[in-house]
Amino acid sequence: MNTDYWIGRSHERVGARDRVTGALRYTADLSFDDALHVKLVYVGGARSKIKEIDRSDALKVPGVACVLIADDLPQPIARFGPAFADRPILATGETKFFGEPVAAVVAGTKDAAEAAAALVQVEAEPLAAVLSVEDALDHASPLVQDPSLRPKDPLATTNVLREWTFGWGNTDGVAAHLIVEHEYRFPMVTHFAIEPHVFIAAPEGDGVTLWTPTQHPFVLQRVVAAALKWPIARVRIVAPDPGGGFGGKGWPKFEPLLAVLALRLGRPVRLVLTLEETFQQARRTSARIHAKTSFDGDGHIIAQELNTDFLIGAYADIGVRVVSKASYAACGPYRTQNAKVTARALLSHTTPSTAFRGFGTPQASWAVESQLTEAAGILGIDPVEIRRRNLPRKGEAFIPNDTPADGDWAAALASAERSIDWHTPLAKNRGRGIALGLKSSSTASASLAIVRLHYDASVSVLSATSDMGQGARTVLAQIAGTELGVTPDRVVITMGDTSIVPYDSSTSASRSTVFMGNAVLKACAEIRRKLQAICAKALDVEESAIEVVPGEVKTPKGTMSYAEVMQAGLGPPRGEIIGIGEERGGGYRPEHPLGGRPEFWEFMCTAVEVEVDPQTGMVDVTRLVLASDVGKALNPAQVEAQDEGAAVMGVGHSLMEELILDSTGRIVNLGAMDYRIPTIQDIPRDLHSVLIENEDGPGPYGAKGAGEGGILGIAGAIGAAVNQAVGVQIRDLPLTPERIWRAIQSAGAKLP
């Protein structure tokens, strides 16, 4: 059977039909007859001392089962987190960010839970809060974390959670023709998955089961087990397909609390956050980046010195890893002769910052790309050309002792240059910009897959990857179908239930096609080896006489189907053939600053054309072209759709998105009404994606990861285009109409 058509074709998304009919059950759609409803209680402001919580009125509301506060829990209160166990199950002593609950009300109906939550009286005293990079670095500011939580940490008496220095060569005293030095800012933005966060927990047997649309079921299982001090095996995570994730659904939030409630009450409990609450639980890490870039007269980068100060939240979450990983590769896809990156993860009394599409790279890229464009202007070199001159060739180690450049990046740059008609004249108030982005992919991580070949040669694939919109089911089905020669209707992918599927590190870092894809590939290969042995035994021939190819077994006695081999080999008792695949990539390297080399680089070239209205400062992105080297697009439509989506999300943080805090640390623009994201009217008239495919990636059939690249360079490209259109250079995102208008006014005012 020829199944080649499976790979490289835009096969229909597996699960698309259930999504257009409303049949797909997302987590909040699951129904538990005896479930209790949870509503959280908050105090205003970022930081408050909790003095007294009066639950008496709340407990009088009919149907209320309990009102839990931190004092009810065993002390010292259990803390949890993926990087550090620093976050208490409920706020204890003081709240540390706007949106940290002080109590959880549980009742028989949503109405009763809401009514009772409003009756919980909290006496709280507002305290000074750390809300910005400057606050965090001010020695007079309060400490966000209790130093006793950070024993033996020399930084424990500061708000610096971690600091790093990365680099090579020597940036001191380099002889430069041109030095460009500026400071850039990237705002707090929120993921705004259309599905708000939802958590359901129920006691089950000797353990507890949690239903939540998490991207990383096994991280959650480990963290909840640690918080409960239970063996991992007693915690079961079920992760229905998320309604969007983008990193926001990666890391534990209220799951430990829900587990505790379910176990105390002996009933299922459910907590569906509002969008406003969701905004308060996860955000992108904001940043202040100081960049000093040295060039020779031809535009070659002699040195990059970057100070990357990332403002993480009140708890480390995975924000601490965002900072180190993004800073390590912050110099971008360039041959930088000397580099020094000084990075800090700064604690603050704000929403915990976490993974968010691009994992810190869009922040760094905003600075580095703006610097390059500015240097090009000063040196009289075309912005495309200055990038071309600094791009490493494939195989070149642009970061010493690390994964070399692994794609034809120059081809992607040339492709974007061509597609955007870079060298054609522009009308008034129009501008073009180009920017590159480079993201370190997954480093040390592991994916396991189980593939089961049933007696009728249909196939079950068990995988802990989360299908959150990227289309992982489709790609895994394409791989299994190709390797075992079965048609789509005979492959079923089961995901997300830790009692069924084997371990996977995470659905993040654009890693699933490569890591989980390879695991499925290897599992299928094991099935073919077992078929070979079974067939040889059944026919009483040497194994070497048997050749197993996708869908068929060639034997000295003719060609057999997989089903025929199984019938012959397994007989009336029947059975199945199980293959297990494991991909660990290059593995853990303790000497590497990130614990391992990136398995591949996610590279993207972004080019835009904008029109700016100088009267209003409004920016219309009229054209947006993306060009990436993806190795092999297993499903091109899915790759393109992710690129386009990432790009439009990038238009959001470039032009309109920012969480705004008041002086007490309260987010003032909570919810869809006050926090604007791109709509269907904001998209470029021309939006398209070009895929370079040389089948040279580490994944199945030469694939590399994709899906985050589209967001990496958008801000740098739009900033450059706005500058060309109306002559203003703005270094703080977002480029709102007000900021642009003010910049135009102040530039005009300086004219004679």
Binding site: S10, E12, R13, G15, A16, R17, D18, R19, V20, T21, G22, A23, L24, R25, Y26, A28, D29, S31, K110, D111, H191, F192, A193, I194, E195, P196, D241, P242, G243, G244, G245, F246, V272, T274, L275, M468, G469, Q470, G471, A637, Q638, A641, Q642, D643, E644, G645, A647, V648, M649, G671, A672, M673, I677, P678, T679, I680, Q681, I683, L687
Partner: protein, 158 residues
């Protein structure tokens, strides 16, 4: 029935319901929690994201913004009511065919808003599709495939 509940008669996807509901429950609450049709999604609950869009007597409304008691005597169509006899609506087919569906959470609302557009305007321009769907937010995709899907469904209906 609790004290204060109100009896409301409505048709949902052609079926008649007599429901006893608290007067402050929205149509969205009732569809999801009482009628148990969960295809209609809740996101912003303030009429800005469009995820909860349904048709009320053929008109697209955000079901989070209307009280269920106002629906007495109305005909409601939800995403579950579009396909008939196993046959998908042309919009549903088109969303699948163009790859417009990613995580899918916005899609029911998106399709219901587009359903009203095509009922009123079988020949929508690109700008008219954008106008009709400006209140339906998607965060996974770049919207262009959604535009293509609606245009394709319109063409297939002619």
């Amino acid at each position: 029935m609790s004290a204060g509940d109100v009896t409301v008669h409505m048709q949902v996807n052609g079926r008649s319901f007599a429901l006893e509901i608290p007067p402050h429950h929205t149509l969205l609450d009732v569809l999801r929690d009482t009628v148990r049709l969960t295809g209609t999604k809740e996101c912003c609950a303030e009429g800005e994201c469009g995820a909860c869009t349904v048709l009320v007597n053929g008109q697209a409304v955000c079901s989070c913004l209307v009280l269920a008691v106002e629906m007495d005597g109305r005909e409601i169509t939800t995403i579950e009511g579009l396909a008939s006899g196993g046959q998908l609506d042309p919009l549903q087919e088109a969303f699948v065919a163009t790859g417009a569906v990613q995580c899918g959470f916005c899609i029911p609302g998106m399709i219901m808003a587009a359903r009203q557009l095509l009922a009123l305007n079988p020949y929508p321009s690109r700008a008219e599709i954008q106008e009709a769907l400006v209140g339906n937010l998607c965060r996974c995709g770049g919207y262009s495939r959604i535009l293509d899907a609606v245009a394709r469904a319109a063409a297939s209906q002619r």
